[in-house]
Symmetry: C3
Subunit: 137 residues, 3 copies
């Protein structure tokens, strides 16, 4: 089962998509399995991090900019090589387990779509693999 | 099949959990499939790297500290934003294949739980998906 | 279903392996599922990034070298700790969905084997999980 969600992003940002992934799990009816969240873009990614204090993700964005700056030597004509690098460092997908029909996230974990070269119209997919609830006898 | 393991960590470190993942595979009885190792924390992660010379993982810790330092501009009040960043860079899960009832790791590969903000009482999960050994005819 | 591919690498580089992964999906006959591409080495990885302008991946290599330099403090006697770090930052596997018998990649996405300590004789695996095409009634 494959679910797709559109997303309008700003210039840069961590967008919390946990509720949408939960929604996909619910729609799928899978009781025991795995959800894979996938980003089909090359200047954006998907990651799991703190869902509580919004300062965490703004600190992450700032530190990513400092760690992976634009460089004079870059040759890619679109000028967004730093965004491509951040995408590969953060990664294009995450796996989250499904148990008892629910996403198994840690207490402070949220799932984020990470935009590094917006604003753009983006999308992400959720693939659910697993078994439905066993029938009662 | 979902297996959980507790872990007491030190301040920072790569903790080899390969044997525990092997144990989960064995318990599951899965012959052909995939093991996903998942970290439910936001200042720790899971990665695969060299299992032989312990200098490798101590070099990795040192270089991660240099690459992702604490920064004056960070606003997160807990003061552990660098650890959150390392968690997203290293990642919250790894996949390892199962073939012939065994984990398919490269000769020099071990699976590590990576603590970036300890000491803490942590845990990790192993999800096993796949088929049991085909019956003999 | 598990497929293995050999690879001769150069000193460093992003090697496009998308066609080989497509080939594995085709051979598997899986119609709806997931492909996991796995690197069994500890100084190489697998990532997804732009498949069009080759300047992107050369910019990535350059920026990875600058971000994760060799360091005097490194103790690992083989002298390739920076390559081990890049391997853990980029990651040892990627997941790509399979729908309608085809790999579901974004328009600009290609799958790359990333060599950080070559030249070497390398290999990678593709594990395919999923269901065959439903039979017509």
């Amino acid at each position: 089962m494959l679910y797709e969600y559109p997303l309008q992003t700003g210039k840069e940002g961590f967008i919390d998509i946990t509720d949408k992934v939960r929604d996909a799990v619910k729609q799928s009816g899978v009781f025991d399995g795995m959800a894979t969240v996938y980003c089909p873009h090359t200047t954006a990614g998907v990651t799991i991090n703190e869902n509580s204090d919004p300062d965490v993700v703004s600190d992450l964005l700032l530190a990513l900019d400092r760690t992976y700056p634009d460089r004079e030597e870059f040759r890619h004509s679109e000028g967004n090589s730093a965004a491509h690098l951040k995408a590969s460092v953060i990664g294009s997908s995450v796996n989250v387990m499904i148990d008892d029909g629910k996403l198994v996230l840690g207490r402070w974990q949220g799932i984020y779509f990470t935009e590094f070269d917006g604003p753009r119209q983006r999308r992400f997919s959720v693939k659910i693999i697993g078994q439905p609830r066993p029938e009662r006898k």
